[in-house]
């Protein structure tokens, strides 16, 4: 027979269990809106029952509270972080593409297309009255506006690159901060859980930090069980980035920045930051990440290929455009003659645009002396510009054909443009092979090959030269100081009315063979609409990714989120349970009352 107070004890265990469960409900309700909180449940089991003698079975002894555990699905956490990483990457790319769109500012009345239109209009006016200084001044003004427009776009692109670099620095600091935070939580959790408990709330906070981290880099987080020094087993939490440990239990590796010494791209900002993994200030590995904001930052800062379009890609395209178009304008302009001066002499062989606005003679000397970087077995060297004698000969043949009127002016221009394009492609293949050989021979100092795109005409010969940054193109000192030097005439004797060279300058605009993308106008149009396509694509990815992240987050919330209705019904359940236990206790109390106060009173 059980003890008299046995029933009291059962009721008491029920009371305590209900009360504890109500506390858990209360905690859930209180944290219903806490970010990263996962709902908790109290787990209860029956006490070990009392075996009754004589095969009567077992008598229950009440309820026991075991653990308060959290309801959370780790798979969904992984899924969330994967998608969040991709979203973090494209959010930034989208933002950057919008910024580049804003820099190009097309279609508008103030972009470079408008400046180009106005420049060519000025050339047309110039062709109508080449004898008029007003139209010459107009050409000068519009040419300056065009070069300024180009440098503005170029400068803003470079600024954008610098800003990205700055953002890399702050993002890296953020990543390291999160890593430290995770390590601190690891310690706290480990210490709390030494006695076998589960640190639900701290785990939630740690998971939240990993979630935040996942938008910056491509992270993998996992917990493994290891044997501790005292022989017991403990859990260790690790965070890795592309297999490289960022946090390992109490330890962290640091993502470190250092200055890049050799520019990847000639127009890159000075001393941009490279990333590497360090531990105690010692380099352990180089950094890479497939997704996350950092990878977007690096892509946008350094991307110069069709598959990975970043700022350098657009700078390159712009440089290519300006070098080719200004080069061609120069070539035509050098064929012409300016107005006669007081002595009856007229200028010839004058460039319209030069580097830094030098005069033609100085610029040509520069070109020939400085030349371009080439590569040979010994390494990199700066040689004089390479003369393309075959090209010069081919073009001279074309010009001769034109002179004997066997081809039209259109055919001449097309043929020259495609000859130049072909030669550039050929030279690039040769150079690229040399670079590849160099990189194979020197695995420790890889060099990036930047294709040459410029054939410059000087001294009646063609030279392959390095591209000139488009912000350095200014109107040449010759024409800037003397409007008479704008060359409208192709015949020195026919000034001032001869406008055939001015017409050639205007016609250059419709030279379809100039670029693989067509005429100069087509080139800019294609560039801008391709930018639009990329920006639109980024916007779409972000939109889709948002839906995806929202979906995963909803699935996660479906599991770990607090439902107030559910908590209320739980609350009522435990409230009733508490009351019922109290009622049982009262019943037991009454039993005792009967025993103590009223039993055995018969006959008194």
């Amino acid at each position: 027979m059980a003890s008299t107070f046995f029933g009291l004890n059962i009721a008491r265990s029920g009371l305590f269990a209900s009360q504890r469960a109500l506390n858990v409900v209360s905690h859930n309700v209180a944290n219903a809106d806490t970010k990263g909180y996962s709902r908790q449940r109290l787990e209860t089991t029956q006490y070990t029952p009392l075996a009754l003698a004589g095969g009567e079975g077992q008598l229950g002894t009440g309820v026991e509270t075991n653990t308060i555990h959290q309801i959370r699905n780790e798979f969904l956490d992984f899924k969330f972080r994967d998608e969040n990483s991709i979203q973090g990457e494209w959010e930034f790319k989208k933002e950057m593409f919008s910024a580049i769109e804003a820099i190009f500012n097309e279609p508008s009345d103030s972009g470079i297309i408008k400046a180009t239109n106005q420049f060519f209009s000025a050339l047309q006016e110039f062709s109508k009255s080449p004898d008029n200084l007003t139209t010459r001044a107009l050409v000068r003004q519009r040419a300056i506006a065009l070069t300024e427009g180009m440098s503005r776009v170029f400068g803003q692109l470079k600024d954008a690159q610098k800003n990205i670099d700055f953002e890399i620095d702050t993002t890296v600091a953020q990543i390291n901060g999160y890593a430290k935070e995770i390590a601190t939580y690891n310690k706290l959790i480990h210490e709390t859980e030494v006695d076998g408990g589960v640190a639900n709330d701290i785990r939630d906070q740690r998971a939240l930090v990993v979630d935040k981290l996942s938008s910056l880099v491509d992270v993998q987080a996992y917990e493994d069980t290891v044997k501790l020094r005292d022989g017991s087993f403990g859990k260790r939490f690790n965070v890795t980035v592309m297999g490289m440990p960022l946090v390992s239990h109490y330890q962290t590796n640091t993502l470190d920045t250092y200055k890049r010494r050799t520019k990847l791209h000639p127009d890159d900002a000075e001393n941009v930051l490279e990333l590497r993994w360090t531990h105690n200030n010692k380099k352990i590995a180089s950094f890479n990440s497939n997704s996350g904001k950092v990878s977007a930052l690096l892509d946008m800062r350094d991307g110069d290929k069709e598959v990975n379009k970043g700022i350098p890609y657009y700078i390159d395209k712009l440089n290519n455009y300006v070098n080719r178009v200004f080069g061609e304008l120069n070539r035509i302009h050098m064929n012409g003659y300016g107005l006669k001066d007081a002595l009856g002499n007229n200028s010839h062989g004058i460039m319209m645009f030069t580097m830094d606005g030098k005069d033609t003679a100085n610029f040509e000397t520069d070109l020939k002396n400085k030349g371009l970087t080439t590569i040979d077995a010994a390494g990199f060297s700066l040689t004089g510009a390479q003369e393309m004698s075959t090209l010069t000969a081919d073009i001279n043949t074309t010009l001769a054909d034109f002179a004997t009127a066997s081809i039209t002016a259109d055919q001449r221009d097309d043929r020259i443009a495609s000859l130049i394009r072909k030669e550039i492609a050929q030279q690039n293949n040769l150079l690229k092979a040399k670079f590849e050989k160099y990189n194979d021979d020197h695995p420790d100092q890889q060099k990036t090959f930047v294709p040459k795109t410029i054939m410059r005409f000087s001294d009646d010969k063609y030279y392959l030269v390095d591209q000139i940054s488009c912000d350095r193109f200014k109107i040449s000192a010759d024409v800037d100081l003397d409007l008479n030097k704008f060359a409208a005439a192709t015949d020195s004797d026919k000034t001032p009315g001869d406008n055939s060279n001015a017409l050639d300058l205007v016609n250059m605009r419709s030279n379809q063979a100039m670029f693989a993308w067509g005429s100069p106008d087509d080139y800019v149009n294609s560039l801008v609409s391709n930018l639009g396509v990329d920006s639109e694509a980024a916007t779409k990815v972000v939109k889709n990714q948002k839906i995806l992240v929202n979906e995963v987050e909803n699935r996660r919330q479906s599991v770990m989120g607090v439902s107030l209705d559910e908590e209320m019904s739980e609350m009522i359940k435990f409230q009733h349970s508490y009351s019922a236990n109290a009622r049982v206790l009262t019943a037991m109390d009454e039993l005792l009352d009967v025993i103590v106060n009223r039993m055995g009173l018969v006959g008194r």
Partner: protein, 331 residues
Amino acid sequence: MRITNTMINNNLLFSVQNNLERMSNNMKHLNSGKMVNKPSDNPIATAKILRYNTDLSEVEQYKKNVRDATSNLEITETSIAEVGDLVQRARELAVQAANGTNSPEDLQKIGHELEQLTEHLVTAGNFNFAGRYIFSGYNTDQPLLNADGSLNPTLNVENKTANQVDNLKILVGTREEIAYSAHGIQVFGEAQDFDIVKFDATSGQPLKDAGGNLIKETKKFPALIGQMRQFANALRAGEKDSPNKFLELVDNSIDNLLVVRADVGARINRLELVNQRLSDNNMSFTELLSKAQDTDMAAEIMTFKNSENIYRAALSTGAKVIQPTLLDFLR
């Protein structure tokens, strides 16, 4: 699926955000009147818009060019007409002079009038419009003729035929050039040597050599002016056979004038056609540009209203779903 409060909140926020974004796009289209404000709004339309804008700016420029060329050609035509009238008058005088009944004084007077006509012709040949000599080809800063009507040597056209001289050219379309001037050599004929009787500057009498023959000097003149000058001087000097000689020659020049005038007229006509075409181009480019770029207000307002309805629906269902909880029904 278990639905939690956070999920409802998230979903509500997500859809409200989406709707707001859609409405903000509608608003941008309505406010700016443009469907494409940046390339990513519609990359294909952007390419078109940029193309049409460039085309339009070119067409505008070509229209300006046509206007300038037309006015230049009209001035040229007027001048040629004036020259035609002068030559016609000279021809009448020559016919009159060829009449045997004229006294030497009459012939003198006719000679003087011819002299004046020639002077006038020189003025016409050196006509200067907006600072440019219209008959001097590329040498717009040089008069065609010297004061006596002989060819200005700096023009370098003494040995050029009418086909070899240069005329000012203008672009009226992509690589479509049109000449918008007539060269003096074309109007007045190619340069020839003419023997001109010399006159004494003070007495106004023809100079004679010891044998009593008239002294003549040989100069390069454009045919028509040379003929006039030669005839006028000869008549004043009293050369009897000069009217017939002049009449023989001048008819060719008159024919030539008519041909040049017809050519100029034809070019004006062509420019009118070009202008018509450019106006058509302008209109169609503007229309295409508008189609690619401008907001269809009616359609946009419809979609805006639609977005607004969805937005309202999202808000009102959201408000209704969020509000009640079990709490509302607990005592």
